[in-house]
Structure formats: structure tokens, C-alpha cells
């Protein structure tokens, strides 16, 4: 994929590329949220779509075994992963517009005891970008100790990129209209007004156990309603 990506960045921005996640690694974000008999299993990870499908079942079995879940989960997990992969693959055949597209990415997630809020710009055309590298820098710079935070950040970014990429497939025809608007926006670069610094500054909060419980309860209520 990489030589292809390099060609696209330096060449005319009007070329189209076959659909893929616009990062250096073409990894699909997979989210699982399965409930059986009152047991809830939630997980989020990235999957390499070029792995054979047999790996899905193996992964499901191993997960169930490691977490000691009832075996009914195996089929559910495998099905969920498969359906998301199929969705991705169905888009793969279509064209994706790879013009310059700076999109805002927002982070608003809670991982165990850490609350993260952040906002920044991401170039959809930059096929050398890597959410994992960003997440790593983020955690190092802010001294985040919990090792689960980094992957969660990378996953959140990837999910948003995926969604935007899906939209760009649909809107491949309509891009020409927006070119002028984009040029206008480019003039405002590069330094940001100071009052906006706070908006784009990351916020990392460490919560206590009670706050975590309260937040979880609220999330569940929101999910039910």
C-alpha cells in the first residue's frame, strides 16, 4: 500500500484511490458490544483486513477462553467482527477521493480512571499518518501512566477517520464544488489565534473511583434511554 500512498501525496490531488483507511497501516477499527445473559463484553481494537478470516474465529475463541466467558460468546464475537469486516470490504472496491482534506478530530473518552478531551486537525490525504504514533506522543508528553489509554486514543482517532473516509467515498463526485472553499480556509494558516489555544489543548483528567462509578452509571442510563 505504501508506494501507492506515496504516489498519491505528491501527485495531483484529484486522483482517486481505492478505499482504505487513510493511515500508514490499513487497519480497521472494530468495536464489540455484546450482551448475553446479563454478561456484557465490550472491546475495541484494530484488525488487519488482509488477515484470513479463519483468524476471526481463532481470536474469538481465545478471547472467550482468556476472559472465561460462556461459550455462547464465541459465535457472537466472531459474527460481529465478520460483519464489520464485510462492511469494510464492501467499501474497498469503491473509489475514495484523496484530495486535501483537513478535518477536525475530537477526542472525548474515558479509559479506566483517565478522562481525555482533545481536539486537533488531521489531514485525510496524509497516508503516512499514524494514530498510534500520535497516541504514543500524547501519552509520553502528558505523562499518562495507564497503558490502556494510548491504544484507546489511537482507536478513537481511527474510528473517526474511518467514518470520514466512508463519507468521502459517498461524496467522491461532489468534491470539485468544495475546492474553492478550501482554498479560502487555507489562508488563515498557520498560527492560531491565542484564544483558541485552549480549545485545541488536550485535557487529561485523573478521576477517583467514585467519579468513575458515577460516570459509568450515567453512561448506562444514557445508553438505555
Amino acid at each position: 500500500m505504501k508506494p501507492h500512498a506515496a504516489a498519491s501525496t505528491s501527485s495531483n490531488r484529484n486522483t482517486t484511490v481505492k478505499f482504505r483507511i487513510p493511515t500508514s497501516d490499513n487497519l480497521v477499527p472494530i468495536r464489540l458490544d455484546i450482551e448475553i445473559d446479563g454478561q456484557r463484553f465490550r472491546d475495541a481494537f484494530t484488525w488487519n483486513p488482509s488477515d484470513p478470516d479463519s483468524e476471526v474465529v481463532i481470536f474469538a475463541k481465545r478471547t472467550v477462553k482468556d476472559l472465561k466467558l460462556p461459550p455462547a460468546f464465541i459465535t457472537q464475537i466472531a459474527q460481529s467482527i465478520q460483519s464489520q469486516l464485510t462492511e469494510f470490504r464492501s467499501l474497498e472496491g469503491q473509489d475514495m477521493y484523496t484530495g486535501e482534506k483537513i478535518v477536525p478530530i475530537k477526542l472525548d473518552l474515558r479509559v479506566n480512571h483517565t478522562l481525555i478531551k482533545d481536539q486537533f486537525l488531521w489531514d485525510l490525504n496524509n497516508f503516512e499518518s499514524s494514530p498510534e504514533v500520535f497516541a504514543r506522543t500524547f501519552c509520553t508528553d502528558l505523562g499518562v501512566e495507564d497503558p490502556e489509554v494510548g491504544p484507546a486514543i489511537a482507536f478513537a482517532i481511527r474510528e473517526q477517520l474511518y467514518e470520514i473516509a466512508i463519507q468521502s467515498v459517498a461524496s467522491a463526485r461532489e468534491t470539485r464544488i468544495n475546492k474553492k472553499g478550501r482554498r479560502g480556509a487555507a489562508e488563515q494558516f498557520p498560527a492560531r489565534k491565542r484564544r483558541e489555544w485552549d480549545v485545541y489543548e488536550p485535557i487529561v483528567d485523573l478521576l477517583s473511583s467514585e467519579e468513575v462509578d458515577a460516570l459509568e452509571a450515567r453512561e448506562e442510563r444514557n445508553a438505555r434511554t
Binding site: 501525496t9 505528491s10 501527485s11 490531488r13 472491546d43 482468556d66 476472559l67 486535501e100 483537513i102 478530530i105 479506566n112 486537533f120 486537525l121 488531521w122 489531514d123 490525504n125 496524509n126 503516512e128 499518518s129 499514524s130 504514533v133 500520535f134 504514543r136 506522543t137 500524547f138 509520553t140 508528553d141 502528558l142 501512566e145 497503558p147 490502556e148 478550501r182 482554498r183 487555507a186 488563515q188 494558516f189 498557520p190 498560527a191 492560531r192 491565542r194 489555544w197 485552549d198 485545541y200 489543548e201 488536550p202
Partner: protein, 560 residues
């Protein structure tokens, strides 16, 4: 935008920024950050690149002593975050920023990661931690000490030769004054009480008391155990078991409490206590390790079975030593010993193994921290003196094959090893132990000689311990196999018995049926005979017509 500070006194390594100038973009920059210069996008142009670069550098120069993080700058710059990061990384690599900041890591390198060991699994996955208290627990990184990812403690540490895991990482205990044997709570000149009281001890004076800073509220204990003392302690524990007074007597320089705490600190210490407990009774009976040789086993079947086991054990050790070193040198001594063992120590071994099989495997690699001498004595109590001697020999030979140097050192010790193997008596051991400190002292002058024995001894001890451990494991596995066979045989036997019972049952039933059959036959015959009888009588009375059944019957009835 902020104006860049052009402080002339600002020092940067000249070599790094020789090419840099505020007013121009150097070729290096152009080649590394091509996306700004190839016109591929509106958002990336040379001017924009300069803006980014100048902003980042001036931001850094606001406070050159601290390390500027990417996260700090990215909030103030508009643009694709990956590209910004690339610029930032480029500037950092070139030394234009963060060159004199502490802990400056190249963010791209993987090797500088701080090793963080978690206690237990992350929340999504639970793994039960191993409950073995003797295993090394994960070591937490000391705070603030390893920015550059020096990782697990112990890399730069210079531990004393006999330091055990608990020595280094466990909490220290209360200090006991060497003089008045009382607890010292305060930061002490060895003991404030003694100091005040004037009990300075024989050759000490006020000046000799060093001020030892004491961590408040912890009551630390700082007992220094030399190798010789530890060896003495272990020997005396083996000999005296629970009798701490005798143990303290043996280890003359340490108190009873010291001995106990030291033993507990050693990784296998409490196991030793456990084992001596169980064998304490055996010890007390005769005070001799060879007691078990005198125990006779009841039946001959078990005897032969165990002989087989012994042979297997010897065979295993032989296998082990074959793996360890040359085959030829090992086989003769083992064969010699093998002929002795079934007759003599067969019983001993089996009795011991019966006793010891219930225990958890007492050998841990930490045992190798002591000299192989101790190891051999310990092992010989568990596994059998001949086996230990051969294992030790095998290990030593393996080491000697690797390097000729320690051969003479070990050969000198080998004689004592032979003694140890042939007559495991406590007196001899003690004498030998007393010899050892002197031996150590004599070697103490030549420092280089000291270095070699220690490492090689450690390796020899490790090899011995591992060899004996694997022999034992093989023995246990074989025994399990045999047990399984035995059980399978029992099952088969039971099934056969069941079948036999059924067959017998069926046979009986057959007999009964045959009898019944004959009875029925007889009955039948008698009935027929009666009938014939009756008919005859009927005929004899002259019935005219035979065809008339109806008339015959009433006649038959009336006749009968």
C-alpha cells in the same frame, strides 16, 4: 506571531545548527520535509513551514532548559497534526530544539520506553497471579529514576554476593544494637542507649561510633551476613532443625532472632524449616542422617518395585549428566555407584522419597547462590548422597570442559566432595565447614583467585541443583506413570471379575433350568403313564366304542 529571540549569548552546539538561519530554508529542511516544497497542497508551503519552524524554535527558546513537548506546540499551530509532528521531530533530531533539555529522548525510538510492570492484568483481562511466595515478584520501577528506560531495578546494582531477593527488596527490620541487644529507635551512634550509658564495648571508644542515619519510624535492622555465616546457619538448621538455641550457638556471631529472620529471608528458607520439621523427629532419634538407611521395608514386592525406581533414578541422573557433559567420563562413576545403590541406599532413597514426595520441590535456583558444597549436602539429604555426588561431578565436569581454569580449583575441592558423598555424617561436615572459612581466608589474599571460584562455583551449584531437580522430576513422572498403569490394571481386573461373576451367574441359571427341565420331563412322563394307565383300565372294563370320546371320559373319571 512572536518574534524570534536572537540572544547572542544563547548557546547551542555550533555543529548542530551551523546551517540554520532564520531568514532562509536550508536544503536539509527541504529534503526532509518535502511535502512543504512540492506544491502538493495549499496548506503546505515554504512560508507555512517557516512559520511552523520559527514558532516552535522560539517557543523552545523561551525556556531552553526544559524539554518542549509536541503537545505544547501543537495547540498553537493550525495544520495537519501528523505533519506538525514530523516538523517537530525533524527539529528535535537536528538539535535545534530540546538539545540541552534533560531526559531528551528521540520520540521515535522504541528502546527507550520505560518498562512498566503491572501487578495483574489490565481491566479487560484478569489473570490469577502465581501464589508461590518464593518466586520473584514483579519489581516496580523506582520513581523518577528511569526516565531513559533503564527499566527493571538491578541493572546497575552491585549486590553483595549472597544477597537474596528478599534481602534487597524486602523491608528492613529494626536495628538491634550489637552491644546491649536492645532496639534502637533513633538515629543512632550504633546505639544511643549504649552511648549514653557508656557501654562502649571492649575496644571501642566514642570516636569509633559512627553516626548511622536512621530512617525515622522504621526501626531498620542492618545485619550483615557473610557467606561463611550463612553456610554455618544452614548447616546448623539442617542438623538441629527447630532448636534455635543450638543453631545460634553454632553460628556464633548472630543471635537467635537474627538466625531465624535470616533464614526466612532466604528464598527457600521457610521450606527448609518445613522440611526439617517433618524430619525433625527422625533427626532426634539418632541425630544422624544415615538413620533412614536402617529402616527396613516390609515386603519384597515393594522392595523390588522400589529398586526399579532407584535404578530409574540413577539412570535419569546418568541421562542428565550425559546431557551435561561427556558421556564417557560420566558412565563409569555412575555405574560403579549404581551397583552399590540398590542394595544399600535403595531403601533409604525410597523411604526418603516417600517422605519427601509430599513436599513441594524444595530446590530453587536461588540455592545456587550458596556454594555447591552446601548445595551438595542439602541435595544429598533429599536425593541420596551417591546421586548428588554424581550430579555434582557431572556439573563440575561440564564446567571444566568449558574452561580449564577452574579444574584445579575444583579438583582440590573434589576430594572433600568424595568424602561428603561416601560418609554423610554431621561431624565430618562440620569439620569441613570449619575448614572452608579458613580456605576462604587463605584464598582471600589473591583477589583474582577469589573471583574465579565464586562465579564457577555458582555455576556449578546451579548445574548441580538443576540436574538433581530434573532427576527428581523424572522420578516423580515415572512414578506417576507407574501409578497410572497400576490403576489401569486394577480397572481391567475389576472388569474381568465382573464378567466372571456374570458368567458364573448365567451358568448357575443354566443348571437350574436344566434341572427344571428334567423335572418337567419326569412330570410329563408320569402324566402320560397315568393316562395310559387309566386308558388301559378303561379298556379292560370293556368299552364298546373307542371313538366315542365323550363316553370314554366320564368312564375314565369314574374309574379313577
Amino acid at each position: 506571531m512572536e518574534t524570534p529571540s536572537k540572544d547572542p549569548s544563547f548557546k547551542t552546539p555550533a555543529s548542530r545548527r551551523r546551517w540554520f538561519s532564520w531568514d532562509d530554508i536550508h536544503d536539509t529542511e527541504k529534503s526532509h520535509l518535502r511535502e512543504f516544497f512540492d506544491g502538493s497542497s495549499f496548506t503546505r508551503s515554504p512560508k507555512i513551514y517557516r512559520d511552523y519552524r520559527d514558532f516552535i524554535i522560539s517557543k523552545f527558546r523561551e525556556d531552553p532548559s526544559r524539554r518542549l513537548t509536541f503537545t505544547e506546540v501543537r495547540k498553537s499551530l493550525v495544520g495537519d497534526i501528523s505533519v506538525l509532528h514530523k516538523v517537530f521531530a525533524f527539529l528535535e533530531r537536528c538539535g535545534l530544539i530540546n538539545f540541552c533539555a534533560p531526559g531528551g529522548e528521540d520520540p521515535g525510538e522504541e528502546g527507550n520506553w520505560r518498562v512498566r510492570v503491572e501487578d495483574g492484568a489490565p481491566n479487560g483481562v484478569r489473570v490469577v497471579a502465581a501464589p508461590n511466595p518464593n518466586s520473584l515478584k514483579p519489581v516496580t520501577v523506582p520513581p523518577g529514576g528511569s526516565d531513559n528506560g533503564r527499566g527493571v531495578v538491578g541493572n546497575g546494582f552491585d549486590l553483595p554476593p549472597l544477597a537474596s531477593y528478599r534481602d534487597v527488596y524486602s523491608e528492613r527490620k529494626g536495628t538491634i544494637c550489637g552491644n546491649c541487644k536492645q532496639r534502637c529507635e533513633s538515629g543512632h551512634y550504633e546505639c544511643t542507649k549504649c552511648f549514653k550509658n557508656g557501654h562502649y564495648g571492649e575496644n571501642k571508644s566514642v570516636d569509633d561510633f559512627k553516626f548511622i542515619d536512621c530512617i525515622p519510624n522504621s526501626g531498620n535492622h542492618e545485619a550483615v551476613w557473610t557467606e561463611a555465616e550463612t553456610l554455618l546457619l544452614l548447616e546448623s538448621v539442617l542438623k538441629h532443625g527447630d532448636n534455635w538455641d543450638l543453631v545460634a550457638e553454632n553460628v556464633k556471631t548472630k543471635t537467635k532472632a537474627d538466625c531465624i529472620s535470616k533464614l526466612i529471608e532466604l528464598p527457600f528458607g521457610d521450606l527448609m524449616l518445613g522440611s526439617t520439621h517433618r524430619r525433625g523427629r527422625l533427626w532426634d532419634n539418632d541425630g544422624n542422617m544415615s538413620i533412614v538407611q536402617q529402616v527396613q521395608l516390609p515386603s519384597s514386592e515393594t522392595h523390588s518395585q522400589e529398586n526399579i525406581k532407584t535404578d530409574d533414578q540413577c539412570h535419569d541422573v546418568e541421562k542428565e549428566s550425559n546431557q551435561n557433559g561427556d558421556a564417557e567420563t560420566q558412565v563409569p562413576p555412575l555405574k560403579r555407584k549404581r551397583t552399590i545403590s540398590p542394595s544399600d541406599t535403595g531403601n533409604a532413597l525410597m523411604k526418603q522419597s516417600h517422605i519427601t514426595l509430599g513436599q513441594p520441590p524444595p530446590l530453587s535456583p536461588a540455592a545456587a547462590l550458596l556454594s555447591p558444597k552446601y548445595c551438595s549436602s542439602h541435595l544429598s539429604s533429599m536425593v541420596g548422597p551417591h546421586i548428588t555426588a554424581s550430579a555434582a561431578e557431572a556439573a563440575v565436569t561440564a564446567l571444566c570442559d568449558e574452561c580449564q581454569c577452574p579444574r584445579e580449583i575444583f579438583d582440590g575441592d573434589a576430594n572433600e566432595g568424595e568424602e561428603l558423598g561416601s560418609s554423610p555424617q554431621n561431624n565430618k561436615k562440620e569439620r569441613e565447614i570449619e575448614e572452608r572459612p579458613t580456605e576462604l581466608e587463605s584464598q582471600g589474599t589473591s583477589s583474582e583467585k577469589n573471583a574465579i571460584p565464586l562465579t564457577f562455583r555458582i555455576r556449578a551449584a546451579t548445574a548441580t541443583a538443576l540436574g538433581a531437580a530434573s532427576a527428581r522430576a523424572k522420578l516423580l513422572a515415572d512414578q506417576e506413570d507407574r501409578e497410572i498403569e497400576c490403576l489401569a490394571a486394577t480397572i481391567i481386573e475389576t472388569q474381568l471379575k465382573k464378567l466372571q461373576c456374570k458368567i458364573k451367574h448365567i451358568d448357575d441359571m443354566e443348571l437350574i433350568m436344566e434341572k427344571e427341565y428334567t423335572q418337567l420331563e419326569e412330570l410329563k412322563e408320569s402324566i402320560i403313564a397315568e393316562q395310559m394307565n387309566a386308558l388301559q383300565r378303561v379298556f379292560s372294563t370293556g368299552i364298546s366304542r373307542w371313538k366315542d370320546h365323550t363316553s370314554v371320559k366320564p368312564h375314565v373319571d369314574s374309574v379313577l
